[in-house]
């Protein structure tokens, strides 16, 4: 889908045509096109102008600017907030390392992230939540990215180490955020206090990391020649894919408790994560299955001829080719999982969207400001989701996957 654009760019003659010629070719190539251009330009300008002037002059951004910490970490205790800071810094460190190692889009992301930190740290406004410590912390993140960059430039740092580091971050993050019972340094923080972007990202990252292996297992299960296994996998996949995510969330949040022993209580956030994981796994399974089907039989036969065991053939021959073939589909699935985490609002979890709604409702005055809040929320989701799709496209190009169509 995407590569056609790149192909077109590559086909372009080496010398770009002059601006006049470009205008003629792209805007006024025929009468119809000219009419269209003349009609569209004022509309576009009018829309842009009204949006920008609204955002700058008539919008009241109080409900957004007063609560930066609520939007990012929700109710996480303010005296324990350094834990989120540690996680954020290590993410920035690894971002820097990856930039040093691979460059490309990571460079732009790192620079943008660093820029955002510096600008926020230097904002010339008085804000109770943007005190000296917070500014210092934000500033130091820029340094973290740079340190990471230089570490990444060192040849001795293996790519696999970096990838493992990335995978470890969410696990360490959960441990650090949850804390340890009766610990002085990191006391337990119940998940009901987690909120905002923190929960959105945890649900998305957790969902991706957990649903993918489950999806691969289900895909193999469905293709298995054991009727019980394939039957069960098929039923599981088709039932989950046949119902909306809200019903699955609802099932895990309310119905599941009725089917477990009375004493057992599963954390609400964990239940939401389970629902998201199960839902996403069913879709991943179908994607992976598509990939498995695309691996030529000759490959498997060749591996067998070389005396590889079934397991080795699967892990080293079939799976890599299958995943490579369906990478675009899987990436798309992960992006939609990120967006779908918003649905946890419906079962009462205060993720980024949920916090926004709580803020609107916390003060009768803010009900009027919902437009600003919703637009801000939409913008943030859009930025992260767009970054994810940009990254997946770059990855596809880097891996030389031809158009997925």
């Amino acid at each position: 889908m995407i590569n056609t654009e790149i192909e077109q760019e590559m086909i372009k003659p080496p010398l770009p045509p002059g601006p006049l010629k470009w205008v003629k070719e792209n805007l006024f190539s025929s009468i119809f096109n000219s009419v269209m251009t003349v009609a569209l330009i004022p509309i576009v300008f009018y829309l842009l102008f009204s949006v920008v002037s609204w955002a700058l002059f008539s919008a009241d951004w109080r409900a957004v600017t007063q609560f930066p910490l609520l939007y990012t970490v929700g109710q996480y205790p303010r005296d324990q907030i350094w834990r989120v800071g540690v996680i954020l810094s290590s993410i920035f460190l690894f971002l820097g390392i990856s930039w040093g190692r691979w460059g490309g889009l990571l460079r732009s992301i790192s620079l943008a992230a660093g820029l955002v930190c510096v600008v926020t740290a230097l904002l010339p406004v008085q804000h109770p939540q943007l005190d000296q410590g917070m500014r210092l912390f934000l500033g130091s993140n820029t340094v973290m990215i740079l340190i990471g960059y230089f570490i990444g430039r060192i040849k001795a740092v293996k790519a696999s180490v970096i990838v493992v580091g990335w995978l470890l971050i969410p696990i360490c993050a959960v441990v650090l955020l949850a804390g340890i019972e009766n610990s002085e340094l990191i006391p337990n923080v119940p998940t009901t206090l987690w909120g905002g972007l923190l929960v959105t990202f945890l649900l998305a990252a957790g969902g991706i990391l957990l649903s993918f292996p489950l999806g691969v297992a289900l895909a193999f299960g469905r293709r298995s020649d054991l009727p019980v296994l394939s039957g069960f996998s098929t039923i599981f996949i088709e039932v989950i894919r046949g119902v909306p995510l809200v019903t699955i969330l609802f099932m895990f949040s309310i119905i599941l408790a009725l089917f477990l022993p009375v004493e057992s209580r599963i954390d609400r956030l964990v239940r939401a994560l389970m629902a998201v994981t199960v839902f996403s796994a069913a879709y991943s399974a179908e994607n992976v299955r598509g990939g498995l089907q695309s691996v030529p039989l000759g490959q498997i036969e060749a591996a067998k001829a070389l005396g590889m065991s079934n397991l080795k053939t699967t892990v080293f021959i079939v799976l890599p080719q299958a995943l490579r073939a369906v990478l675009p589909a899987i990436a798309g699935q992960f992006i939609s999982l990120f967006k779908d985490t918003t649905l946890v609002v419906i079962i009462g979890i205060n993720d980024f969207l949920g916090i926004g709604r709580s803020i609107i409702n916390s003060d009768p005055e803010f009900v009027q400001l919902r437009t600003e809040v919703y637009i801000f929320i939409a913008l943030i989701y859009w930025i992260f989701s767009y970054l994810m799709s940009l990254a997946s496209r770059r990855l596809e190009t880097a891996m030389g996957i031809s158009d997925n169509l």
Partner: protein, 396 residues
């Protein structure tokens, strides 16, 4: 299997725990036992809990009076009717919004795809912005934006916007003047239906004959002519007034009459179909771009007009690629309609949740909701897959 024969001929030497067939059977039995065991365990737990907490598992409550209102029920409903009826209202709402959503999303998505492929740079960029905007924000956020932000800007009832038609637009919805059948309208409708049926049959027969004999049978004018004759006849029989325009009018508090789209329905319908249209646009664009350029050039070379290039050469080939992902988009749209409760549109999930709350029967109602969506999905994918097979078959 046959070439393996010599290898395993010496069965006695293979211990049972390495015999592949036994391992397979064992694995199946084991997994079956585990799965069934977990299910039984869960069900026993449930019955224990149900007993202890006075929960009943019957569907008999469905006959009880619901007692709660539903906004703008599409079929006859009032709170004294049963829970089952309330559920039906929700189901009709779901079907309505997803059916119309699918039609609109398809049309709009195709238009966006064509705009995206346009040689006009501005048009193409606008389409790109539309696609990227909708693909990268959560549907729930889009729903809030449409319902609370966009519909928030619509004027109050007394300052309604009036468009020719007449169409009125205000906070209470969109009111469109709509033809309603008069007393004699039934005759017209019957005649029209017969006319449509007859002309379709004539169309098919004549076209088939043309395909076989190669002679011009004028199938299009013939069937259209028949259709017009039937319509005219029906119109005359009904005394010239089969329809009457039902024009919305202001009656003190609200507008009455005409066809009314509530803001909840409109918000749901618009955001659902625009969101899906963005995905459909990418599917359609991919399908069209996948058609071999040589095919298009060849079609142009033999002098086909642009419309025929599109309808006879590009579309039939693109459709084969487009249909399968399109089916999953349709299914997504249907499932996504369950977000309706966020903006007060009462689909089957929203009504189900209220029923759970009022009747307190979580499990039976929940099972009903799941079954409803499951059958909707299976039905949709079943029907569309038959269509898909036909399309794919044409390729030979």
């Amino acid at each position: 299997m046959t070439n393996n024969q010599p290898l395993i001929s010496d069965k006695a030497n293979i211990p049972f725990y390495r015999d592949e067939r036994i391992i397979k059977i064992f694995a199946q039995v084991l997994s079956a036992v585990i799965i069934v065991g977990i299910l039984i365990w869960a069900i026993i737990n449930f019955f224990k809990a149900a007993d202890a907490r006075n929960m009943t598992l019957t569907f008999s409550f469905l006959k009880e009076s619901a007692g709660f209102p539903i906004s703008n029920p599409p079929i006859d409903y009032d709170p004294s009717m049963s829970f089952a009826r309330a559920f039906q209202v929700g189901l009709v709402n779901t079907l309505l919004v997803s059916g119309l959503g699918i039609i609109f999303a398809t049309i709009f998505g195709t238009l966006i795809a064509l705009a995206r492929l346009s040689s006009n740079w501005i048009l193409s960029r606008i389409a790109l912005v539309f696609i990227e905007f909708h693909r990268n924000i959560p549907l729930l956020v889009l729903l809030f934006l449409w319902y609370f932000v966009v519909f928030g800007m619509v004027p109050q009832v007394k300052e309604s916007i009036k468009w020719p038609g007449p169409i009125f637009l205000n906070k209470r919805g969109i009111y469109i003047a709509w033809p309603r059948l008069t007393e004699t309208g039934g005759i017209f409708v019957t005649m029209a239906a017969i006319g449509i049926l007859v002309s379709i049959i004539v169309f098919i027969i004549l076209r088939k004959r043309r395909k076989i004999t190669g002679k011009a049978t004028y199938y299009l004018p013939a069937s259209l002519g028949l259709l017009i004759v039937f319509f005219l006849f029906g119109w005359l029989l009904s005394g010239g007034t089969p329809f009457q325009m039902d024009i919305p009018s202001f009656t003190g508090i609200n507008y009455q009459g005409g066809l009314r789209l509530t803001p909840e329905f409109a918000g749901m319908f618009l955001s659902l179909s625009l969101y899906t249209a963005a995905f459909i646009a990418e599917v359609v664009r991919g399908g069209i771009q996948a058609v071999d350029k040589g095919q298009i050039e060849a079609a142009r070379a033999i002098g086909l007009p642009p419309m025929q290039v599109l309808s006879l050469v590009i579309m039939p080939q693109a459709l084969r690629i487009i249909i399968p992902p399109m089916i999953s988009q349709y299914l997504n749209l249907t499932k996504n309609s369950s977000l309706a409760l966020a903006i007060g549109f009462q689909d089957v999930f929203a009504v189900g949740k209220i029923v759970i709350n009022q009747a307190g029967r979580a499990v039976p109602v929940f099972a009903l909701i799941m079954l409803t969506y499951l059958s909707l999905s299976l039905l949709t994918s079943f029907v569309l897959n038959i269509y898909n097979r036909r399309i794919q078959f044409v390729t030979r």
